[in-house]
């Protein structure tokens, strides 16, 4: 039997924390399967490739690109477009690429406010009378240097280029990575646009006991309560995003008595995950008067940041003006 041709693989890190790259290394011995099956053509965190190396590739020369991170500056946008052009399959890898992720919370603010906070009012910055803002092009003695320009919006990958598959998670779990890798190696790929995770929400795979009696008199942050190991966390007043979140992660947070934070994104067909969870949370509040309802909701810290923690850029909400 003729030896199978190795796949050309690229991995890129855009607007993200780096955890997604680490998650690939986290596959332990399975990484050897990847190495055996693929020639890595571009992986800035691990190997010394330049963008020019990618530019030199023929269109569609890359079989698969795993792109993690949101798109929020000109360089990330350029790489997204470039890698799209050079790849047969582009996978939106991790919550930031898929949903905008934590960086996406920047859409609650705007570019000017962000720059001001980082370069002017931040406690760790000395302005010496005037803040220095980064400028895309600056003159230095050696000539002109260019740095990427910050965009006004944080966007998910599929909002700027066409994406073939989505692998959710912050970061994606080893099981799902293996599932995706096997699918790529064997060529048994799902239909385009598929989210490689479960088709139901997290409650489906959660083993905790759920009842029809849902009455919450206050919400707790995880450190404020010792939860019952058996009972549904939401019914105990811990804001678990599980009901509004796509399953497939293995409910690992929940098994560790921590509520789901929603990194797998909305359940299939849900238009706005934050709004859905807001409605679900509102429905468990057991209040007799508007005042009581207000005092119960006051126990929810950072409502917008909680319900839209990972999904703001793909939600119906728009950026703050």
């Amino acid at each position: 039997m003729a030896e199978k041709k190795k796949l050309n693989l690229a991995i890129y890190w855009a607007g993200a924390c780096g955890g997604c790259d680490v998650s690939i290394l986290d596959t332990d011995e399975k990484i050897l399967d990847i190495a055996a099956a693929a020639d890595i053509k571009f992986w800035p965190i691990a190997m010394d490739y330049k963008v020019s190396d990618v530019e030199a590739l023929k269109d569609n020369e890359l079989d698969v690109t795993l792109f993690n991170g949101a798109v929020r500056n000109s360089e990330q946008l350029h790489l997204a477009q470039l890698l799209r052009k050079k790849s047969k399959i582009l996978i939106s890898y991790g919550s930031c690429a898929y949903l905008g992720g934590i960086p996406g919370l920047a859409n609650f603010s705007n570019k000017e406010a962000i720059l001001e906070r980082v370069y002017k009012t931040s406690e760790s910055v000395e302005t010496n009378g005037g803040a220095v803002y980064p400028s895309p092009k600056s003159k230095v003695p050696e000539g002109e240097v260019e740095i990427p320009e910050l965009h006004d919006y944080v966007k998910a990958l599929h909002q700027v280029v066409d994406v073939d598959y989505f692998l959710p998670g912050c970061p994606p779990t080893t099981d799902l990575i293996n599932l995706a890798v096997n699918a790529i190696i064997t060529g048994k790929l799902p239909p385009k646009g598929a989210v490689i995770a479960a088709d139901k929400n997290l409650c489906d795979s959660c083993k905790r006991k759920k009842t029809e009696e849902k009455s919450v008199k206050r919400f707790y942050r995880p450190h404020e309560i010792i939860p019952d190991n058996e009972r549904c966390l939401l019914e105990q007043g811990i804001l678990c995003m599980g009901p509004a979140t796509r399953g497939g992660c293995g409910a690992r947070c929940i098994e560790a008595n921590m509520p789901c934070r929603g990194c797998f994104g909305p359940a299939p067909g849900v238009e706005d995950m934050g709004a859905k969870m807001l409605a679900a949370a509102a429905s468990v509040i057991d209040a007799r008067t508007p005042e009581e309802a207000a005092s119960i909701t006051a126990t929810l810290p950072d409502v917008a940041g909680t319900f839209y923690r990972f999904n703001l850029p793909v939600s119906l909400l728009r950026r703050a003006k």
């Binding site: 088709d199 489906d204 029809e212 009901p243 509004a244 409605a279 429905s283 468990v284």
Partner: protein, 653 residues
């Protein structure tokens, strides 16, 4: 499918719409919208010619969808759906744009009004394209009715339905029917003897073959929906066989337990452990109060019919019915602390209104004499209005009967103790019913004193010789503008009505809403006063709010009429815009079950998913909003339809 061809009709509503909205401009704009094949304006779209236009146009112009921009759908959605159906289209391929209540009636700015009207029409046009034909489902009606509560409301409703030849289960929690009315002596304003007008109706209940009377019974659970309810009823042990007992009273004669408080007499006297509430009780059979029975067995031996079984047990029965009437009545406000300031329970001659009813009743504890506890006649009697009503510290509502009952009490005192002084202490006199004002005038002429002011407290500390040995009422006389002290021998507290003690239990087992005052909430305060939010469940009498006998009887007949109307129809159309669960998406969080106000969702352990009982779904959409996995959709309110509507509203006009 061929391209949609939408007909848009803009109604002037006389000048209601056209004086604020530029109809010609709106029509011109509507013509530019995608898929619009025809735009027409008309003075009254709801009129016959208006509806006829739709019919003609659909045929002539091959219209596929209709948008009428006129008034609120609450007003005429039914009308236009009918017209669309008549034109041969499915009635749901229709959308209304409300440019009257939402536009012309709420703004005077013509430019803004016209712009808003355009946006609403754009929204309706975009939405209607996404509409799907829907078909309402029909179910058969079970012709039997359950009436809960055997007071005058329940009695009247049961008789009306039974006299029409339909079966009624009348469920009463006490040992006899009759309710509060059976305790009254006279009724205002005609001074008819309550028993004389009530007991014939009670006897009719006992004799009517279409009525199955269940006393000492309570409804425990209701399942189902209009036309098809299953009602679980607990029939408490009576210990006396209703079929065998002849009511001869031998058992009572020999029963040695004599110290049982007699609730029917407002605990003013005692009864025996085996008792009949009053001589005309229906059913006319005895019952045993097991809380007091010593199980000596004397009654068992004395009963010539062997009707008594001390080991009888509660029974739980299930009956099926198509409709339910809730007539659970009221209770008197009984906050002890509140009543204490009026000397109730402190001074023996302070009576509640119901206690006084028993005092004046010929078969009551005093044989109908108005006397003090020591047996002597009072020289002066005060009647305090609004006790527990119209008071932020008690119930805020007006109990509607207290003024008239207080006038009646005054009259009765004057009649029975001719020389006595009678004081009515009132906030306002509300004598609004037929013949009520005349009765008030009559009482004024009977030399009853009217003091405008709410009694503040009842004390017995005398300041003057006149006050010695008297009860003194402190009151601010708001006509004189001074605080007065009125010494009397007897005080009658005209206590307000509040929801029956069973109301909260009934509300939860029937999923009925209650208004702020705790009474059951009617579907509409003016136009649907006896219907509730749940089809097939009606409310009548004081269960819905404080009421006198004439109003109670009127409501009972209204509820009975509504029930008969449904029974006569035989079938009922169910809501079309129901919800459905896509079980492959449902993860079983059960949030929908906890929020459904109609108990229309059940959990299927087999599918591990929620399931909507379509016949019970009212299409409120709460579950759709709450379902975090997007597994529930509602016909007629699909995401795609709503988003199109939003896009239409947001588009530039």
């Amino acid at each position: 499918m061929s391209e949609p061809r939408i007909g848009v009709y803009v109604c002037h509503c006389g000048t209601n719409i056209s004086q604020t909205v530029d109809i010609a401009d709106v029509c011109g704009f509507s013509k530019t919208l995608a898929n619009v094949a025809l735009v027409k304006e008309y003075k009254y779209m709801c009129s016959d010619p208006g509806q006829e236009t739709i019919k003609v146009d659909v045929e002539k112009n091959k219209l596929t969808h209709i948008v009428v921009s006129s008034c609120s759908p609450l007003m005429h959605e039914g009308t236009f759906r009918g017209a669309v159906e008549n034109a041969g289209l499915n009635e749901y391929l229709f959308q209304m744009a409300n440019i009257r209540e939402h536009v012309s009636w709420v703004t005077e700015d013509k430019i803004k009004a016209t712009e808003k009207a355009k946006k609403l029409i754009a929204a309706a046009v975009r939405r209607v394209v996404k509409h799907q034909p829907l078909k309402p489902t029909e179910v058969d009606i079970n012709p039997d009715t359950v009436v809960i509560g055997g007071g005058i409301a329940g009695i009247e409703a049961a008789l009306t339905i039974a006299n029409a030849g339909k079966k009624v289960y009348l469920v009463e929690k006490d040992s006899t029917i009759g309710g509060h009315m059976a305790k009254f002596d006279k009724t205002f304003p005609t001074l008819d003897c309550a028993a004389c007008i009530l007991t014939p109706k009670m006897v009719s209940i006992a004799q009517n073959r279409n009525i199955e009377l269940m006393t000492l019974s309570e409804v425990e659970e209701i399942k189902g929906f209009v036309g098809n309810f299953t009602v679980k009823i607990r029939k408490k042990a009576r210990y006396v066989d209703e079929e065998l007992c002849t009511g001869c009273g031998d058992c009572e004669k020999f029963c040695p337990v004599k110290n049982v408080p007699n609730e029917f007499e407002e605990n003013l006297s005692n009864k025996k452990a085996i008792y009949r509430a009053f001589p005309q009780a229906v059913p006319a059979v005895y019952a045993i109060d097991m809380a007091y029975c010593k199980r000596c067995g004397v009654c068992v031996k004395k009963c010539g019919k062997n009707a008594i079984n001390l080991d009888a047990k509660d029974e739980v029965l299930e009956v099926r019915a198509g409709n339910i009437i809730v007539a659970t009545g009221y209770d008197l406000y009984d906050n002890k602390k509140y009543l204490e300031k009026y000397g109730y329970n402190t001074y023996e001659n302070v009576l509640t209104s119901l206690e006084f009813e028993r005092y004046t009743h010929a078969s009551g504890p005093t044989g109908g004499k108005v006397v003090k506890k020591d047996g002597t006649e009072p020289e002066a009697v005060a009647i305090l209005h609004c006790v527990g009503s119209r008071d932020v510290n008690a119930n805020e509502h007006c109990s509607r009967i207290c003024c008239m009952q207080s006038l009646k009490f005054g009259h009765l005192v004057k009649e029975k103790v001719p020389g006595a002084e009678v004081y009515n202490l009132y906030i306002d006199i509300r004598a609004f019913g037929k013949g009520y004002e005349e009765f008030y005038k009559r009482c004024i002429h009977e030399d009853i004193h009217f003091i405008r002011g709410k009694g503040a407290e009842v004390i017995d500390t005398a300041l003057t010789k006149d006050e010695q040995g008297k009860l003194i009422i402190k009151v601010e006389d708001t006509l004189l503008g001074e605080i007065r002290r009125i010494p009397v021998d007897m005080v009658i507290l005209s206590i307000g009505m509040e929801p029956s003690k069973s109301a909260s239990r009934i509300a939860s087992s029937l999923s009925l809403s209650r208004s702020k005052d705790g009474f059951f909430l009617e579907k509409h305060p003016k136009l649907a006063p006896v219907a509730t939010a749940t089809d097939g469940i009606y409310v009548a009498g004081a269960a819905q709010g404080p009421k006198d006998i004439p109003d109670t009887v009127a409501q009972a007949n209204a509820a009975a009429g509504a029930v008969l109307s449904i029974i006569n129809k035989g079938r009922v159309l169910l809501e079309s815009v129901t919800s459905t669960v896509e079980s492959s998406k449902c993860a079983g969080c059960k949030l929908c079950i906890s929020v459904c106000p109609y108990q229309a969702i059940e959990f299927s352990d087999e599918d591990k998913a929620s399931r909507i009982i379509e016949a019970m779904c009212k299409g409120c959409g709460t579950c759709v909003a709450v379902c975090p996995s997007g597994a529930i959709t509602q016909k007629g309110y699909l995401d795609g339809q709503i988003f199109e509507e939003i896009e239409g509203i947001l588009q530039k006009v």
